[in-house]
Structure formats: C-alpha cells, structure tokens
Symmetry: D2
Subunit: 88 residues, 4 copies
C-alpha cells in the first residue's frame, strides 16, 4: 500500500472508531432506537468510503503491475471475488 | 463484448423480463405485498448477477488492454466510478 | 394494495421495462460495457424505488391492521424477513 | 430498548471493535489490500447484523406501541426513513 493511502486509511479508521464509541454510549444511555440506527447507517457509509480508498490504491498499484506481469487472471479473479463480497 | 458474454447477458435479460412480467401480474391480481416484495428482491439479485457477468467480461478484455496500452488512469477511473454507483 | 399504490407500481414497472429494453439494445449493438453497467445500476435504483413504494403501502395498511388485530408477531416477522432479503 | 437487546447490541459492538483493531494492524503491517478489503466487508456484515437486531427490538416495542396509541404515521414515517438510509 502507498504510504499516503495507508495514512488516510488509518485516519478513517480512527473516525469510525470514534463513531462506534458514540453508538455504544447511545445504547448504554437507552437512546431511541431510530436515532441509534441512523448512526449505524452512517458508520456503514464510512466503511464503504474506506473500502473505496483501499480499492483505489489497489487498482493503481497491484492490479496494474499484475496485468503488466501477465498475472491478469489472478488480479481479475481477486477483483471479482471482492465485488461478489461487496454485493453479498 | 465477447460473443459468449453478450449471449449470456441477453439470456439473463430475458429471465429478468419474465420475472418482471410475473410481478406485474401479482400487482394486477392484488397479491399480498410481502409476496410481491420477495419477488422484487429476487429481480434485484438477478440484475446483480447480470452486472457481475458484464464486469467479468469488461475486466478480462477492455481493462487488460487498457493497462497494456498505458491507459491505466482511464480504465481505473471508470472502475472506481462503477464501484461508487454500485454502492450508492 | 390501495388502488393508488398499485397504479403507481404498474407505472414504475413500465418504466423499468422500457429501461431494460434499452439495455438489451445496447448489448445487441455492442455498446461499451461501462456504459451498459451504468444503465443496469440505474435499473437497480428504479427497482429499489418500486420496493420503497410497495413497503410504504404495506406498512400503512396490512401492518397497522395486523398490529391492531393482535397479529404483531406475524407482521413483524414478515418485515424482518424482508429486511434480511433486502440486505442479502 | 429491552435490556436483552441492548446487552446483545453491546456484545456485537465489542466484536466489531475487535475486528476493526485487526484491520488497523493489517494496514500498519502493510498486508495485501485484497485481504484487508475482505475484512472490511466482514465488518460491514457485522454492522448489518447489529442493525437487524436493533430493528427487531424497535419493531416489537416502539412500533407496536406507536400503532396502538394511534401514532401510525410517526412510527411508519420513521421506518421508511430508515429503509431509505439503509439502501442509500
């Protein structure tokens, strides 16, 4: 992973951690479930953004190198596996 | 698109069409909404499978050629755009 | 289903049908896969809107009646089953 | 929220926290992006299970009470808002 990608990914993980801490407090303080659920959807969105960042880095580095090295089938197989997981 | 991919894609479109025709009849005959919704989720799944097929063909042809021709940024940019649309 | 809901649902099904016909032509004319995929994502969105419409009608009629008639467990069980299918 | 629901929700939050800690280490140790992404998808799934748990509790308590108290429009409006957020 490029250093800029991993630095940005760790920053996003910190944000997600903080958000989950907020959800924990909401549950402990018996907040209205609808308001808790709105926050869990926001966390899902934040994780999807982290995934997009990791995928961006992966395509620009490992996938391009893989194709140039003739390992098309491997890198493409991995991408399709990820796509299936993302839609499951 | 490879001829085998487009033949398979058209077959899947026929299946989706037939499924939607069934949903239309269910609505016209005032079927219980829960049963109609189960069918619309099945159609969504069928469309996701069609997408996976198209993406598979695209990666193995246009993306590999694009990277070999040095058009990495273009083909990767398109993939990330599709990923964002798929998760929207 | 309320007549206004089913009329609106059939209108949306017509729109989805037309959209799928456009995708069929794109595949037959060998359109660039990325452009085809953008259209399939648009169809997925249209189906999700149809689902939201059906769910809206279902909640305002069958669910409210079910709860008033003491069939809470049945109508809630169905909603949770639909939620699981929608997220699968 | 019922005490059993919130206890279970906090247990799931602990699990998600632990999982995110594992992803952080993977990024710090420069693990192959594909393996990191597989883990982020697993976290997304875990969050969706937490959401299903919260929704289950919400339907069985606040929604049933709301309908019995004649506040149908409020509780149903909230459910539709959550559905739209879950599919965004």
């Amino acid at each position: 992973m490029q250093p800029t990608t991993s630095a940005e990914a760790l920053k996003r993980l910190n944000y997600i951690d903080g958000h989950l801490g907020g959800i924990r407090r909401m549950i402990e303080e018996d907040t209205y479930c609808v308001d808790v659920l709105k926050q869990t959807y926001a966390v899902r969105r934040a994780i999807e953004k982290l995934e997009a960042l990791l995928l961006d880095g992966h395509l620009h580095t490992c996938v391009v190198e893989g194709v140039r090295d003739g390992r098309d089938d491997q890198v493409i197989g991995e991408l399709l596996e990820l796509y299936a997981l993302a839609n499951k």
